[in-house]
Amino acid sequence: MSSTGMVDERIKKTSRLRTAFIRPELGAIVGVVAVFLFFAIFAGDSGMFNPQGVLNWSTVSAQFVIIAVGACMLMIAGEFDLSVGSMIGFAGMSIAIMSVTMAWPVWLAILLTFAICMSIGALTGTIVVRTGLPSFIVSLAFLFILRGFTIFFPQVIERRTIIGGISERAEGDWLAPLFGGKVGEGFFRWLAEMDIIATYSRGARAGEPMVSGIPMLIVWALVLVIVAHIVLTRTRFGNWIFASGGDAQAARYVGVPVNRVKIQMFMFTAFCATVFATCQVIEFGSAGADRGLLKEFEAIIAVVIGGALLTGGFGSVIGAALGAIIFGVVQQGLFFAGVESSLFRVFLGVILLFAVILNTYIRRIITGER
């Protein structure tokens, strides 16, 4: 059957423009175009768009994307997690303590950290669904609890708050390259040989291409976006995520396991935070107790710019990823354009305000409220 047949004459024809307008990603797409145009004009000759420049802001954007994907799925399921930033610090410190202080293999440290962090996510989720308290409060508690432990453990064990030496421990490890490695190194060497990209002219790495490969961080970001988008829009579980956030009671009436869905989304958010932390720790070779500060808010802002509603039940992973790219490009672009970087925060605040106002308007269109 197709949708032919009688058409109700009372239904107004909606224009394509209006249909496009209620897509959650629209605002973010416009934002991405605007941001690129802006920096093409004001920082076009600064190196922002040569291979190293692109790699620079792509990497920063990918960091935002990874946590935004988790925050987006959770927000669509109707919950928040304010402990993402603390979770990043906690996960990094956990890997550092296990692999350096306790001298366990790096792969074991990584796997155990994932298990611990996802369990904490499950605990947060369980408390939220069992008590019915707002996730805002419960995860705020975990923001402090996790940050506290992230400072406490290295202080007590090592008498400092930064633990280094992970790079040496990670050498030869089978799992670490999945987070800290690069892909396409042969391809970039070939590009350098073809003189398409620049090479170092002196120093220890003379002759090597300036861009030696694509960091796994970017690969993780792409994979997470694609998988999350497909799960959300194309599967039964995705429908349950929308339903859980849209109206938990209505979803329960028809047998959607709302509590399970929400807890799993808290675990997914924790997973994303841990991916972020692991990539960071393996790349930097150290873990610091202040890592991930304010990341939860940046993730939430990216998600809101991406068109998700703070009240849940509506949003898009693609939108959230675009929101994250706007962040990465602006943060690094201001640096390339030689603008004082503190303006980045002003930009965050302003764009958040615009996004929320736009979303409220879109919501009215969709639900027909006036």
Binding site: I11, F242, T367
Partner: protein, 263 residues
């Protein structure tokens, strides 16, 4: 009971339900047959909600028996009742305004299509069935992606009813489906009830509006202060009599005369 077509599909005998010291239902008997619309009337606080919830498996009766297709049954949860074929469309509808009609229609029972090791939601089937079922109920959707929020109250009721019917409801309990609707929309919902009944489904129509009940009802049972005051067949009772029964008799008569019969 010789004619099986007209044997009751659900029969409730002397149902009592106590909540602590409160007696919400005090000996209620009710039955509904396939293909009929049995209206349950009652004023606010008469026990209608408790009664629906007992029938749909949310509450367990304190005393009394419930027969479903002739066998005594005890539902442990609303889900059990749903699986057996008793569907309830609550007043608040259980629809999610931000989600599309298709996503709402299939919520909790999404059709799945296998692609290799992965299982995807089968949107083609979901959309086609949704459009078709809605058309059967007389609603032409602009598109199956249309958000439920854009539908009118009556159309939302119809989506909820169509959903219950499509998923094999044998008994459809409608909790005040017309109470918040305008005249035109009420007429649409009543005609939907009529279509469903003609399809052989037993409809329990809960309302406190006598006119709505008389428009589609085959039988009428009035609930007052937790008790049933008897069941009347269509044509055996006047609107005035029903109204009186609902209000508990005497006071209403007095009130009605002073208001000139407008209640």
């Amino acid at each position: 009971m010789s004619d099986t077509v007209h044997a009751p599909i659900v029969e409730m005998k002397d149902i009592e339900k106590h909540f602590g010291p409160v007696i919400a239902l005090n000996g209620v008997s009710f039955d509904v047959r396939p293909g009929e619309c049995h209206c349950l009337l009652g004023d606010n606080g008469a026990g209608k909600s408790t009664f629906i919830k007992t029938m749909s498996g949310v509450h367990k009766p304190t005393r009394g028996t419930i027969l479903f297709e002739g066998k005594e049954m005890r539902f442990d949860s609303p889900r059990d009742a749903m699986i057996a074929g008793i569907a309830t469309v609550y007043q608040d509808l259980a629809m999610i305004p931000l989600m599309s009609v298709t996503r709402n229609f299939w919520m909790g029972r999404e059709p799945v299509r296998r692609v290799g090791p992965f299982r995807f939601m089968d949107f083609r089937k979901a959309n086609d069935v949704t459009m078709e079922e809605m058309r059967k109920m007389g609603i032409n959707l602009r598109s199956p992606d249309q958000a439920v929020g854009t539908l009118s109250g009556g159309e939302r009721q119809t989506v909820a009813i169509a959903r219950a019917v499509y998923f094999g409801a044998k008994v459809l309990i409608l909790d005040e489906p017309t109470s918040a609707l305008g005249v035109r929309q009420t007429a649409n919902v009543l005609s939907t009830i009529d279509k469903v009944r003609k399809g052989g489904i037993a409809v329990v129509f809960i309302t406190h509006n006598v006119r709505h009940a008389l428009a589609v009802g085959d039988r009428f049972t009035v609930l007052n202060r937790g008790k049933t005051l008897g069941t009347a067949k269509r044509g055996q009772i006047t609107p005035e009599e029903l109204q009186d029964l609902m209000a508990g008799g005497q006071e209403m008569v007095a009130l009605e005369s002073s208001l000139g019969g407008t209640v």
